[in-house]
């Protein structure tokens, strides 16, 4: 993030041709400096300048892509140590571990579970992203057969784990169109595996037995011209992994140390003897800088909480998450179920819908678009005013769903009830509790008559 907008501007063609989609080169430079535009959008820029600016404006942790198409996973691109300083960019990829020593039925069932495990929350799809396949049998044909099976059964990105360059080459060339992560170049094999990764243009994991060794191998691979690396510091305990992850991120951000300017791969699957503990370690990696997080199993009770943790930690602190504006039906609603309205800040939605759910009183929850602001903030900003609420209520279709005309508004908005009654003359406005936690008590005594 080195160059300012003006510095970038000096290197642009200054034709103001507008082909990049921005009217002037200066405006384009400003967008580049804040990461809102891509250099490739300029048709006239020379390759030398492109490299120079690209280098200087690239995030200190390179963005590396594993896999292709819909299932391509972006990792890295990070610019801060703490999420409150700006935001974390690309959430970690939870990865299913498979070995060519496992029996066929076991592999089939684990893969099926991996494929089936997809959640949606606030319109975001959450799922484990990658499959890691390790050569442990010593039989190259077995490894090849397993990779083929996985390729046939999932579109997900792959991590091919075989430190024997020849054996890896054989298999990797067969599926290089899937852009697998090759694992791993170490101090002994880095030339052969580095050349393979270059030849087939795949991202490459680098493994050291400690940070110093990792930096040396990484440096050599960079010198060979490799660009998309993923780092394994060799740590296989929770404590060492925490330390290494922190130090790698600090080197990249504070010292602009290129050999550590890449996302990481970590192995909770090798750090615990049961899935519960493994999940705890994986959670540590979510908060502290893991990229590819390899798990021995994908089970809902473990991966769902991990995906929630990842979603929380990677939420942009400057942009509240919002849910869709619509009617949410909670429970088996009918024409005399209560109707409540609130804003679309995702936390408001989760808490209110959770309390309504636990009241066991089936209800209609109207979520109005408040641009992700909480109720009071939205009201203060004019996003939750009587006139806009009235328009939404009329258009929402709720009048066809219920016979009664009673609308419960948040207790904090008691002041707008008069105004709202004027805007919605058919409706009686009821003032709900101030805190969502009192909703169950409130709803239990609510009546349509």
């Amino acid at each position: 993030m080195g160059l300012s907008g003006i510095e970038i501007f000096k290197k642009l063609p200054k034709t103001n041709c507008g082909k990049c989609g921005v009217p002037t080169c200066l405006a384009f430079a400003m967008k580049l400096a804040t990461g809102q535009a891509e250099l490739d959008a300029c048709p006239d820029i020379s390759d030398d300048v492109k490299e120079e600016i690209g280098e200087a404006s690239a995030p200190p942790v390179r963005t590396v892509v594993i896999g292709t198409g819909d299932r391509a996973v972006k990792l890295g691109g990070e610019t801060v140590l703490f999420r409150h300083e700006k935001r974390f960019e690309n959430p970690p990829a939870f990865t299913l571990f498979l070995s060519d020593k496992m029996d066929e039925a076991e592999i089939t069932s684990r893969l099926k579970k991996f494929n089936d495990t997809v959640y949606e929350r606030v319109g975001v799809v959450l799922r484990p992203e990658l499959v890691a396949i390790k050569a442990e049998s010593g039989d190259a044909s077995k490894f090849g057969a397993l990779v083929e099976k996985v390729c046939n059964e999932t579109d997900a990105g792959l991590v091919l784990m075989n430190e024997d360059a020849d054996a890896l080459s054989l298999v990797a060339k067969g599926c290089s169109n899937r852009k697998p992560l090759l694992y791993a170049a170490n101090k002994d094999n880095f030339e052969a595996i580095g050349n393979l990764a270059k030849e087939i243009s795949c991202p490459l994991a680098v493994k050291g037995n400690n940070l110093e060794e990792l930096s040396e191998v990484s440096e050599k691979l960079i010198a060979m011209g490799l660009k998309d690396l993923v780092l394994d510091s060799g740590a296989r305990t929770a404590k060492q992994a925490l330390e290494d992850q922190i130090i790698i991120r600090r080197f990249a951000l504070l010292k602009k140390f290129k050999p550590f300017g890449f996302p990481t791969i970590v192995f909770p699957c090798d750090m615990a003897d049961n899935l519960m503990k493994e999940t705890m370690i994986a959670c540590q990696m979510v908060a502290k800088y893991g990229g590819v997080i390899v798990m021995s199993e994908i089970e809902g009770h473990s991966v769902f909480p991990l995906l929630l943790a990842s979603m929380n930690i990677f939420t942009d602190p400057q942009r509240p998450m919002a849910v869709e504006q619509k009617i949410y039906e909670i429970g088996a609603t009918n024409e005399s179920s209560p109707v409540l309205i609130t804003g679309n800040f995702s936390l408001t939605y989760f808490i209110v819908s959770g309390e309504v759910d636990s009241s066991r009183v089936p209800s209609y929850l109207l979520i109005k678009d408040t641009e992700g602001l909480s109720v009071l903030t939205a009201w203060a900003a004019g996003k939750f005013a009587a006139d806009t609420i009235a328009i939404f209520v009329k258009k929402s279709g709720i009048e066809e769903k219920v016979k009664h005309r009673k609308l419960v508004i948040p207790g904090y908005l008691a002041t707008i009830s008069g105004e709202l009654e004027e805007e919605l003359p058919d409706w009686e406005i009821l003032i709900g509790p101030r805190e969502a936690s009192y909703l169950p008590v409130y709803l239990k005594q609510w009546s349509a008559d």
């Binding site: 999420r83 930096s215 925490l242 908060a287 809902g300 009770h301």
Partner: protein
């Protein structure tokens, strides 16, 4: 090439805070680095876990959380003893939930009587947590302070609206206070200043920056804790150099995701282990952010967190 690890130079330190009374003191705080950053500083006292006990039988818990306590849920004293004797609790957190005017609304005297009984029965530090209703908490927690004089209970939540009354009682009867603010570093600092002005001793203050469960706003608490620690340790903000407490179990165990049975949501997996992990992962996140005391519920979640603390302190 010289391989010099970029270290943070910490200029501040978290205040060492002894809890409980002589003979069964547990000390928290004392950190001179971000949590578990032991390659560049010290954490003389590992974080502690307080086990929850409720003043009356809980009504809305999923069976998976009730099961370990099924034999004691009607009796707070027996419940507290079971936490200590069976589950090795390092601290107890008595939740006075039934004092809530919107719940059972038991009287301040009744709450104080229950608290006294529990405090007499335990030999670990005791946290006493009100319902969160500002006015009722004032009455309840003042009464608790008085009947448990000299026991150095940890009393909370003390908020802007009642800090004078509860703070004064805590000073008079020698207890520690939990300064509670709604996820805002400036409000946290301000309340600590106000408590200081009231003459609450510095070693008798804990910070509660509010807690959300995994999937329910955890990120806000995570970041406010990280920011408080950063201000305390590298910006020498003295009024934030207090240990942090996170009252997380009651947030976790009311969420939909711990209550949905596997039969209704097969992709969410085993309900018991899911609830345990949602609690343990919430704890793991606030621990990594910088919490010193976690209020937790399920014994298996507690064991996972204890093991993680041990591994990271090794």
């Amino acid at each position: 090439m010289t391989f010099e690890v970029p270290k943070v130079s910490y200029t501040g330190k978290i205040r060492e805070t002894p809890l409980g009374q002589e003979g069964n003191t547990v000390t928290v705080g004392g950190e001179s680095c971000y949590s578990f950053h032991l390659f560049e500083g010290e954490m003389p006292y590992p974080p502690k876990i307080a086990m929850e006990v409720y003043d009356s039988e809980p009504e809305d818990w999923p069976d998976t959380a009730l099961e370990p306590f099924a034999d004691v849920i009607k009796d707070p004293v027996a419940w507290a003893r079971k936490c200590i004797d069976t589950y090795g609790a390092e601290m107890i957190a008595l939740q006075l939930a039934s004092t809530d005017p919107n719940d059972k609304d038991i009287s301040a005297d009744e709450a104080a009587r229950i608290t006294k009984e529990v405090s007499d029965a335990v030999d670990v530090p005791l946290i006493v947590w009100g319902s969160g209703n500002v006015d009722k908490d004032t009455k309840v927690l003042k009464a608790v302070c008085e009947v448990c004089e000299g026991k150095n209970l940890i009393i909370g939540p003390v908020v802007e609206g009642n800090y004078r009354a509860i703070g004064a009682a805590a000073i008079a009867y020698k207890h520690t206070v939990v300064a509670s603010t709604p996820i805002d570093i400036n409000l946290a600092k301000q309340l600590n200043i106000l408590l200081g002005n009231l003459n609450v001793p510095d070693e008798k203050i804990l910070i509660d920056p509010s807690t959300g469960a995994l999937g329910y706003g955890l990120e806000y608490c995570y970041s406010v804790i990280e920011r408080i620690r950063m201000a305390a340790l590298v910006q020498e903000d003295e009024r934030l150099q207090f240990p942090i407490i996170s009252n997380l179990a009651k947030e976790v165990w009311k969420t939909k995701e711990v209550k949905v049975p596997e039969s209704e949501a097969p992709l969410l997996g085993d309900m018991k282990n899911r609830g345990i992990l949602i609690e343990a992962l919430t704890a793991q996140c606030v621990l990594l952010a910088g919490a010193d005391i976690l209020v937790m519920r399920h014994p298996e979640a507690i064991n996972l967190v204890k093991e993680s603390i041990k591994d990271l302190m090794a």
